[in-house]
Symmetry: C2
Subunit: 253 residues, 2 copies
Amino acid sequence: MTAPAKIWTAGLIVIGDEILSGRTHDKNIAQVASWLQVQGIRLAEVRVVPDVEARIVDAVNALREAYDYLFTTGGIGPTHDDITVDAVAAALGVPVVIHPEARAILERYYETRGGLNEGRLRMARVPEGAELIPNRMSGAPGIRRGNLFLMAGVPHITAGMLDALTGQLEGGAPLLSETLGGWIPESEVADILRRTEAAFDTCQIGSYPFFRDGRVGANFVIRSVDADDLAACAAELARALAEAGYPTTPGGI
Amino acid sequence: MTAPAKIWTAGLIVIGDEILSGRTHDKNIAQVASWLQVQGIRLAEVRVVPDVEARIVDAVNALREAYDYLFTTGGIGPTHDDITVDAVAAALGVPVVIHPEARAILERYYETRGGLNEGRLRMARVPEGAELIPNRMSGAPGIRRGNLFLMAGVPHITAGMLDALTGQLEGGAPLLSETLGGWIPESEVADILRRTEAAFDTCQIGSYPFFRDGRVGANFVIRSVDADDLAACAAELARALAEAGYPTTPGGI
């Protein structure tokens, strides 16, 4: 087990009236927490705040100073109440600008989906100086500026953005991985994946399905900062899949 | 629809390393948010903090001044890392004392469960000046002190404490209720209850099963601060239950 030289910390701000009203049950706290755990970064605090600019600004300023990284979820969509970009720009004291690459991504994405209108173009707005976080689920990218990461509120889109950031952040320990591949329809083994991941706190299992030579298959990537846990988790996953009739190949196929 | 004269607000502090590590998926934010919505009180902010006294003290002091009510979940159990009572007492500048009624409750509860040991007695500790919040799920009570409410972290125990507080807080509008009763096993209609509640943001449906004259039945209590929504929700629930073959009696049985 690697002893980290420094404990890297992160804060998370969950933005949205719908969480505070109870209408939407937040899934991003658990998702971001688990993901950070695997990156070797400790989630130190979460705040849930409403869609009110002054409240977002206060939370951003409090947490970006206190921790190494700050993540936000929510409020980066196309409607008038999506004000995260404006609030973060205000907190940083920089203007909001249209990111040309984000605009190009949105133009391509909406070319066959009714075109880029004013609302959709809002999703190309970033605080000046920002880079993009790829989003393979829908057109609109996430936004990175320094130690700040602005992500979507919809959990499966957030998941895609976290996936794009996996292994990209300086953390307490390097991220290790092992891959198991097989001609396995992932939907038949979702339970095994979930149970195995749940049994290993420090490990995360990604499932990457493919269709090749007329057959479906998947590569399962186990990630951890702990080499022993990684090996144990990979061995257990291979065992559980084999027991259920799904043999796998180390290294992937 | 009643226009509230004042918007009553609440803060919530979720206490626990297990939430921040991603090991436990929080359910209390959504639960407390929905419950407050029904009481006519607006959840204005949530913070998730670790089991570290200074961090709990800071959050308690920030939120108890900012909002009319402050709720906490977690950290009131029997183990050494349950430090919510100590942190809240420190924040308020009062000593921690054994509450005699809490002690008596625990003595009764553990009489047939191995007796009251040192760990269990920890659950009788309260900040001086506190009252108890009844807990019908397990022995240990929750704690109320002024506008502070300290509740359990285990969601179904938290639910019992919220239930005990229903209608007890001064809120934006009086809480109204309607009851429908029937000789209905509640487990057969859980889906209908959930769907109907989900369709009415401002309404909450409580299910109170009973066994009487050798038969199972349940009373469903619909609560809301909005009379129109309450009537619509009750009508829809009666309709949906009847459609599924479960007639109900207004006023309960």
